[in-house]
């Protein structure tokens, strides 16, 4: 066993940490600040990263190799699951909505890596019903061989990244029920994006409507295993981001508790505060090792889907709890949008719901146990 990072892993982690510290955290205050002294009547506008700032950040991230992590420039080794977890964990420490672009390695053989790497194109996952359940058996979009490739029949899919140009979505073959994983372009025939709405976590969602959508043969990128791998990779990304959220909430809460005084003593001297933070740290530590262990298994080509699902479930719950505690310890400041904690709270609530909700994952694990007994 070796729980220490290798020099290479340390380098990747510290690159990401420096970028987050120098480029993202320095801009976080600006991003969080209310634009006007008094809010205009009606709903306050959704927070968004300034497009110019985003462009600057993409440039720097590309330069540092922190952009399309799974699709490196030609010749370079792609970085593994563990290293990606390290990177996303660093990005999770800020509420600034900026993360390395999602570009799974299986896109390498398509025409799009250059556009994705340049930041000209972006990709969204269209994992249909299973964005909640995290189990492939929920896929009900159907496809069949068509004239020049495949036809994906009528379906509606939720997308959490409405401005995406490419969609990665699994579907079942009519008759065989075999799962296929497709890459679809926004401008394909039979596709429309409708009903875009704001989400409470400063994101948006949209309905991707498919009506006998014709795609070329090359759009089929993989089958059931590949779909499962994308799902597990997304669970690990969420888990890693949640670890970052947990670290930030814990660190800031400790700092605030050290200095804030009530009735003549600092919060740090109050047991109610100490215990909240102690319990959070135990939880955060266990989530950290579960996530890293799952990622390390993936890098060693060991089975890791269940481990990734567990890491996601626990880490998302932990991050929500961490944000909750940070809000409580910061008091009135905690619920202000000028501080990051209420934003983490809203975001973590969403992350708990994506790709496997607690009850479902628990039920699945429990059923496997009742059928097969303990693993190992």
């Amino acid at each position: 066993m070796e729980f220490r990072l290798s020099e290479e892993e340390k380098l990747i982690q510290s690159t990401a940490a420096q970028f987050v510290k120098n480029e993202l955290l320095t801009r976080e205050g600006d991003y969080l600040r209310q634009r006007e002294l008094f809010l205009p009547a009606g709903d306050p506008p959704r927070r968004e990263l300034d497009p110019q700032v985003r462009e600057t950040l993409i440039n720097i991230a590309q330069h540092l190799g922190l952009w399309t992590l799974e699709l490196p420039e030609s010749g370079a080794e792609p970085i593994g699951y563990l290293a990606r977890v390290l990177v996303h964990r660093e990005f999770g420490r800020t509420i600034l909505p900026f993360e390395p672009a999602c570009a799974p390695a299986l896109l390498a053989k398509t025409d799009f890596p250059k556009g994705l790497a340049a930041g000209k194109l972006s990709l969204a996952l269209g994992f249909d019903q299973i964005d909640k359940t995290g189990a492939l058996d929920g896929i009900n979009t159907r496809y069949r061989p068509g004239a020049a490739g495949f036809t994906i029949s009528n379906s509606e899919i939720t997308i959490y990244h409405p401005s995406a140009d490419l969609f990665l979505l699994p579907a079942r073959e009519q008759g065989t029920h075999r799962i296929g994983l497709f890459l679809i372009q926004k401008n394909s025939d039979g596709i429309s994006l409708e009903d875009e709405v704001d989400l409470t976590n400063d994101a948006r969602m949209v309905r991707l409507k498919l009506r006998n959508c014709e795609v070329p043969e090359s759009a089929l990128l993989g089958y059931e295993y590949e779909a499962g791998e994308i799902l597990a990779a997304e669970q690990l990304r969420i888990a890693a981001r949640c670890l970052g959220i947990g670290m930030r909430c814990l660190a800031d809460s400790i700092e605030h508790a050290r200095t804030r005084e009530t009735f003549g003593r600092t919060l740090a001297q109050r047991q109610a505060i100490q215990w909240m933070l102690a319990d959070l740290s135990v939880n955060l530590r266990s989530c950290t090792w579960l996530t890293l262990e799952a990622a390390s298994r993936a890098d060693q080509s060991l089975p890791f889907f269940d481990a990734a699902a567990l890491a996601k479930k626990r880490a998302a719950t932990m991050a929500f709890g961490a944000a909750d505690i940070a809000i409580q310890i910061h008091g009135g400041y905690g619920v202000c949008k000028e501080f990051p904690f209420e934003g983490f709270y809203r975001e973590a609530r969403m992350l708990r719901l994506l790709y496997g909700r607690e009850a479902e994952l628990n039920r699945a694990m429990g059923q496997t146990f009742l059928k097969m007994g303990l693993k190992r």
């Binding site: 729980f3 215990w275 135990v282 699945a364």
Partner: protein, 421 residues
């Protein structure tokens, strides 16, 4: 890479030699894996077949207790079990599975904390209370001169057992409040005081006693003495029944004269020893709670196996606890690894003790919900675990002390202890 070095004459420690750039790795090393596999085979071939015989074994066949108390029994039932256990010891020794955590200079295998955890994890797959080696209090490796032949070797060989005298009527969770005194008198100390709850003191050959020098308070002046049973002025006044079936004792010291040569370590330096004793076994506590909880869940699986209506009520709870057990396992291995690197593991030990004992307690509670009133029959295995698990949240530092240790580290170092090594 791990290597060993002898430092300060006797104390053997594991040190890190410069290594190649290896990635983070959660698998056992080749040697550790061979050891684990050997133990796995031993458990499957030797222990699991004995389980039916142990279903009705008396309470004393839990943990390593049989070695102390049961051996004095005249009950033919108990003697039969002892026969089985001694036979197992012979088989284990024949396979080289003996004295795993004893240092090499004392003829042991001195395996790493990580390997010891892997061994315990395998052993815990069976309900038979078997361990590879005799229980040796880890602070006894501080023995010097004639102490080694008098106290340490007999413990390693299983000829003597020891008790641990720290807690007092008015000092439990905070041992720095201990009041037992050790007054120097020529080349002796005169000891006066009362000790509560040393387990097995009634059958032990000697006690590791903590007392303070005159006019000291807090952690200062605490000194550890090795005092043999029968020393004038030292009496075991009674044993006390507990919920967990263990019977800790009350010890009285009245003008008990102990020679200077029976001070363990240095005079006035006992505080570090008691902390070392408390810290050392925490990672084992974690993996033991893990193993016990797995056995509890296996019973739950049997109870629900034939009843799908009942199963549907509890299946989510099972899934939840399985995930929590994975979390406990990873925390335990991380702590053991960190201990192998000679890093400060006080906070990690507290993490494992807190999380492990609280989790075991919740899982046993959950299992009782499923078993219903029948699970509380005195002889029912779940009822036994129920009584045992409650005590674990107190013994060796209650959960509140563990939280205190954890928060102290947080406010001392911030989140540095949670960053990756």
């Amino acid at each position: 890479m791990l290597d060993t070095a002898v430092i300060g004459g006797r104390k053997t420690i594991t040190v890190i030699v410069p290594r190649e750039d290896v990635s983070m790795d959660f698998c056992l090393s080749h040697e550790e894996e061979i050891l684990r596999k050997t133990v796995e085979d031993f458990v499957r071939e030797r222990l699991i077949p004995l389980e039916p015989q142990f279903e009705d074994a008396p309470d004393i066949f839990e943990g390593s207790r049989w070695k102390s108390r049961a051996r004095l029994s005249r009950d033919p039932v108990v003697l039969r079990y002892i026969d089985i256990m001694e036979n197992l010891e012979k088989q284990a020794e024949a396979q080289g599975l003996w004295h795993l955590d004893v240092p090499r200079e004392y003829g042991g295998m001195q395996v790493s904390n990580v390997a010891m955890l892997a061994v315990t994890e395998e052993l815990e797959k069976s309900a038979i209370p078997f361990e590879f080696g005799n229980h040796v209090s880890n602070i006894l490796y501080n023995c010097k001169g004639e102490q080694i032949d008098k106290f340490l070797w007999p413990c390693i060989r299983g000829e003597k057992t020891s008790a641990f005298g720290l807690t007092e009527p008015a000092s439990g969770a905070d041992p720095s409040m201990l009041q037992t005194t050790a007054v120097p008198d020529g080349d002796h100390f005169i000891i006066n005081g009362i000790k509560m709850f040393p387990t097995f003191a009634d059958v032990a050959d000697f006690v590791q006693l903590f007392a303070r020098l005159p006019n000291t308070k807090g952690r200062e002046g605490v000194t550890c003495f090795l005092i043999e049973t029968g020393t004038p002025g030292y009496r075991v006044t009674r044993s006390i029944e507990t919920i967990a079936g263990s019977e800790p004792c009350e010890l009285v010291f009245e003008d008990c004269r102990v020679p200077h040569s029976q001070v363990l370590g240095e005079v006035g330096n006992g505080w570090a020893l008691n902390q070392a004793w408390l810290g050392a076994r925490r990672f084992q506590v974690g993996i033991r709670a893990h193993g016990m909880a797995q056995r509890v869940l296996r019973i739950v699986g049997q109870l629900l196996g034939a009843d799908s209506a009942e199963a549907s009520k509890f299946v989510e709870g099972i899934g939840h606890f399985l995930g929590e057990l994975d979390a406990l396992r990873t925390l335990s291995y991380f702590g053991a690894w960190k201990a192998d690197q000679q890093m400060d593991v006080r906070s990690e030990a507290a993490n494992v003790k807190l999380f492990g004992t609280e989790l075991l307690h919740k899982i046993v509670d959950f299992a009782l919900e499923i078993a219903g009133p029948a699970g509380l029959r005195t002889s029912h295995v779940l009822a036994r675990y129920f009584r045992h698990a409650r005590a674990r949240r107190i013994i060796e530092g209650p959960s509140e002390i563990q939280r205190h240790i954890i928060q102290r580290a947080l406010f001392r170092e911030g989140v540095a202890g949670l960053e990756l090594p």
